[in-house]
C-alpha cells in the first residue's frame, strides 16, 4: 500500500465531496485537553474515526477540541446535528462510542444513558 493509491480514492470520493462541503450532517467533537487525554479521549476519538471509515459515513465529521471545564466527566463528546439540540455525552469509552454511532449517528436516537446534557 502506497500513497499513489490515494489517487484512486480521490476519483471515487470526489462525487461525495460536493455534498459534504455544503454541510456535514453530523459533527462530532471530542474533548482532547489534558484531562480528557488522561481519561482515555484518544481511544474514544480513534473509535469514532474508525467507525466513520468502516461504515462509510461520508456526511459525518469528527474533530477534536481542548478542555471543556468538566474534567470529572471526561472523556466528553458533543454531537451537533443541524436542526436538532446539541447532545453532550460524558464518561465515554470505546464501547459507548460504538453504541452512540449505531443508535444516535446512524439511527437518529440519542443515547439517554450516556447523555449529560441536551441543549
Amino acid at each position: 500500500m502506497n500513497l499513489e493509491e490515494l489517487k484512486k480514492i480521490r476519483e471515487k470520493a470526489q462525487k461525495d465531496v460536493e455534498l459534504r462541503q455544503k454541510q456535514a450532517r453530523i459533527r462530532i467533537v471530542v474533548g482532547m485537553g489534558t484531562s480528557g487525554i488522561a481519561a482515555g479521549a484518544r481511544d474514544v476519538l480513534k473509535t469514532f474515526i474508525e467507525e466513520i471509515g468502516r461504515r462509510n459515513l461520508a456526511d459525518v465529521i469528527v474533530t477534536q477540541t481542548g478542555e471543556k471545564g468538566l474534567a470529572s466527566q471526561e472523556p466528553l463528546v458533543e454531537i451537533y446535528e443541524e436542526g436538532k439540540p446539541l447532545v453532550v455525552y460524558g464518561n465515554m469509552s470505546t464501547e459507548k462510542v460504538k453504541r452512540v454511532i449505531v443508535e444516535h449517528v446512524v439511527n437518529g436516537n440519542p443515547v439517554a444513558d450516556f447523555a449529560l446534557d441536551v441543549m
Partner: protein
C-alpha cells in the same frame, strides 16, 4: 495521569492547534545504543512571550481563566527530568513554538511510548485543517507521514473522508 509519551504528544499538539498553528512537525527518535528517546515538536502558531513561557512551565497555569487544568507542559518537563533527560522550550511571538524533550530509554520511570500509530491517526483526522509532518525514526527505520503531500494527492477530497480514513489506517499498519 499522563501514562504514555503518546499522550504527551497529543497534549502538546492540542496546545499548538489552540495557538492557531497551521503546520506542526513531530519527530520521535529512539536510539538504543545511546539509551536515548527524543521528541521534537515545532509549530507555526501564535508563539508566546517570555512571561507566558514562564507561566506555561508553571503547573498551576492555564491560558483559560478559571480553568485549573493546564498541567500538560509541566508534566512532560517533569517526566523528562525524572528520567535524566532534558526539556527545552523556545517560543517567538508570531513565529511559533518548539519543544525538544529527551528521555533516558533505560530509566525505570520512563513511561511507555504508547500507540504512535493511533496518535498520528487521531491528530491527522481530528484536526483536518492543520498540516502535520511526522517523522518516526530509530536505528534501522524511518517513517514519514506528511499531510501536505497527502492533501496534494487528494486534490480537494477531505483528509477525513471515510475512504481516506480507511486508507490511512491500513497505510499506517503496513508502513510504519
Amino acid at each position: 495521569m499522563m501514562d504514555e509519551i503518546a499522550s504527551h504528544i497529543i497534549d502538546i499538539v492540542a496546545n499548538s492547534v489552540t495557538a492557531k498553528a497551521t503546520y506542526i512537525i513531530v519527530e520521535i527518535t529512539s536510539n538504543t545504543d545511546k539509551d536515548l528517546l527524543s521528541l521534537y515538536i515545532k509549530d507555526d502558531g501564535l508563539g508566546m512571550d517570555e512571561e507566558t513561557v514562564k507561566k506555561v512551565l508553571d503547573p498551576f497555569y492555564s491560558t483559560k481563566i478559571g480553568k485549573k487544568v493546564g498541567l500538560g507542559v509541566p508534566l512532560l518537563k517533569g517526566t523528562a527530568e525524572t528520567t535524566g533527560g532534558i526539556f527545552r522550550l523556545s517560543s517567538v511571538i508570531d513565529k511559533g513554538t518548539e519543544i525538544f524533550v529527551s528521555f533516558n530509554l533505560n530509566h525505570p520511570d520512563l513511561p511507555p511510548l504508547g500507540n504512535i500509530r493511533d496518535t498520528m491517526l487521531v491528530l491527522v483526522i481530528g484536526n483536518p485543517d492543520t498540516d502535520f509532518h511526522f517523522q518516526i525514526k530509530n536505528e534501522t527505520k524511518e517513517f514519514i507521514l506528511d499531510t501536505k503531500e497527502i492533501k496534494q494527492l487528494l486534490d480537494g477530497v477531505p483528509i477525513n473522508h471515510p475512504d481516506v480514513i480507511t486508507f490511512l489506517s491500513k497505510y499506517l499498519d503496513e508502513n510504519m
